[in-house]
């Protein structure tokens, strides 16, 4: 048998259900694992050991009385942008370093209802703005596959933790690739659901029209199990959609006969590493062998505009969302100033880190009088064209396949000096958020010893189809079973 901390959700569930292990044993194994490797990985901002053991005891009691769900007693780590009642939620920012939310987010309520065990909160780029977790105000997180490489971002703590077996699974958030890119960098499965599929209530807002919460897991079955738990309508999020939630595990079967998969060529150009390209070529051939019909002549010509659209729309929304941090109701507060306005200015100057300030400035400029039409409005019009292009593609194809990232994990420090270089790490994932569609990243090979992710994009509310494709590929390959040596 695997070591307890190496188990997937479905493996742990089977053992818990058969009463071969207890949740307390499993939780202790993970807390010991955190203690053993956390010095090297640094994935966690907060570890809630006491609470976890208490929840594990409660889960064991429930299981004993025959009350068990797929997530009962299984330990999870949560990205520190998701509010947890009574547990500090920092966004890896000085601004919220001591913020303790008075309520649980929707997804946490859902996990608590399933008697999940909360191990703690994970590190991230400050306010989820970044692609490497180096923009955390506290410390950078290391990639378990190669400790001097980044784990990706902004959900880098969540991905590094699951990859390093510090949690059975984790939740992340994805505004432009922040679940999928770190999942790809760490050989994990990461899903960004359709916009509106998972409630954003209690998710600290970065860019409200793009943000979604989703799972980071060790395999596709676990991804489906977590989606079963967290998807659904919530009256507290007026953008959540009351589309029925299927049992996502029921789509995990069969071959890919009859499915049409498109490969958009714009995702295989500039700056793509040869190792990533050859891994993807092999993976796409494999999808063909599994029965899918593959069309490699797909073109999405507006792809090249997406980076500009995203870096106007996301900072604009961020500049509005982050206006609430004024040092009055909660968070960091600097009062050594003359007037009330100066106190707000000083609070924000000292409370925010450089990347957050850069995006607030960019967004404020794009929305300001005289520039609104040229930047924000223009970007939203091009966004319509990008969405239409996807709609047309999905009339012909059931899914689109691309690399998750043009490169494998890069070295710590390699891109921090040049914001544009950092922004470019998200070119393959940004279009998905701009269009509001779902996409999953799954392990698809290695290049120079580092994981390569394959991204599968689906139609709005087409999570079942992309999970089916991901599952078929996973069953036919063994990449997801490879573990970092840590």
């Amino acid at each position: 048998m695997n070591k307890l901390y190496e188990l997937t959700i479905h493996e742990a569930h089977k053992l818990l259900e058969g009463r071969e292990i207890s949740s307390v044993e499993l939780t202790k194994a993970l807390l010991e694992r955190i203690a053993a490797v956390e010095d090297k990985i640094r994935a966690c901002v907060t570890v809630t050991a006491e609470l976890a053991l208490r929840q594990a005891e409660e889960a064991d009691a429930a299981i004993k009385s025959g009350d068990i769900t797929p997530l009962s007693g299984v330990p999870v780590l949560i990205k520190d942008v998701i509010c947890t009642r009574g547990i500090r939620t920092t966004c890896s920012s000085r601004m919220l370093e001591n913020f303790v939310p008075p309520y649980d987010s929707f997804v946490i309520k859902k996990l608590r209802a399933q008697k999940a065990v909360l191990l703690g909160k994970t590190n991230m780029d400050e306010f989820a703005m970044g692609s490497s977790t180096e923009h955390s105000a506290f410390f950078p997180t290391h990639n378990p596959w190669e400790l001097d490489c980044v784990p990706g971002g902004s959900s880098g703590g969540s991905a590094a933790a699951v990859s390093g077996d510090e949690a059975v699974y984790a939740l992340g958030s994805d505004t432009g690739g922040s679940i999928r890119q770190p999942a790809g960098f760490c050989n994990l499965v990461g899903l960004k659901p359709t916009y509106g599929r998972v409630s954003r209530f209690g998710l600290i807002a970065f860019a409200s029209s793009l943000d979604q919460i989703g799972p980071i897991t060790k395999d596709v079955t676990d991804c489906a199990l977590v989606m079963n738990a967290i998807a659904g309508y919530d009256p507290m999020d007026s953008t959540s959609v009351s589309y029925p939630v299927p049992d996502y595990t029921s789509s995990l079967e069969g071959d890919l006969k009859g499915l049409k998969i498109g490969v958009p060529k714009e995702y295989f150009t500039e700056g793509m590493q040869p190792g990533v390209r050859s891994a993807l070529e092999k993976a796409i051939r494999k999808l063909g062998e599994l029965g899918a019909s593959i069309d490699r002549e797909v073109s999405l010509p507006h792809t090249k505009y997406v980076l500009a659209v995203y870096y106007i729309v996301a900072p604009s929304e961020a500049s509005a969302n982050l206006a609430r941090y004024d040092g009055v109701k909660y968070g960091f507060s600097e009062q050594d100033a003359g007037s009330v306005i100066e106190a707000v200015e000083r609070t924000r100057q000292l409370g925010f880190g450089p990347e957050v300030k850069r995006r607030i400035m960019l967004g404020t400029y794009a929305l300001s009088a005289g520039y609104y039409d040229a930047y924000y409005l223009k970007a939203q019009k091009v966004r319509t064209l990008v969405k239409r292009e996807f709609e047309q593609a999905f009339e012909k194809y059931d899914a689109l396949v691309t690399p998750t990232s043009p490169t494998v994990a890069f070295k710590l420090g390699a891109r921090t000096e040049d914001p544009l270089q950092m922004y470019l790490s998200d070119v393959c994932t940004l279009p998905v958020n701009i269009a509001g569609i779902p996409a999953i990243s799954i392990p698809a090979g290695f290049s120079d010893g580092l994981p390569v992710g394959m991204q599968i994009m689906g139609k709005p509310f087409g999570e079942e189809t992309i999970l089916k494709i991901a599952f078929a590929y996973e069953q036919a390959t063994a990449w997801h079973r490879r573990k970092p040596k840590i």
Partner: protein
């Protein structure tokens, strides 16, 4: 490091104005840094001028949603102590700020 672009899109004065709009305190070094960085980033956004958007409506929602209504029902609110628990300064159950009136 970033290259200086030929024609800076944002000068120091504009940076200071945007920082004021954002109520973001900036020191001299930051003004200089933002002028270069933001000019460079904005230069890269010029690519959008190539796209013909005549007659194209701006995107509003990622997924089509009609106006969302709910019943106008009263719901319990959070206890005052919970709401004030994170307040940097409070007095008599209020958030306390510096004087706004002379």
């Amino acid at each position: 490091m970033l290259q200086l672009v030929s024609r800076m899109k944002l000068d120091r004065k504009q940076v200071e104005h945007v920082a004021w709009l954002a109520r973001l305190g900036v020191d001299e070094d930051e003004v200089e840094k933002f002028a270069v960085e933001l000019s460079n980033i904005l230069e890269n956004f010029e690519i959008l001028k190539q796209v013909d958007t005549t007659g194209v409506p701006p995107a509003t929602h990622a997924v089509p949603l009609q106006s969302v209504f709910r019943e106008d029902a009263s719901l319990p609110s959070y206890p005052q102590s919970d709401v004030l628990a994170n307040a940097p300064r409070e007095e008599e159950s209020c958030f306390k700020v510096k004087p706004v009136l002379e």
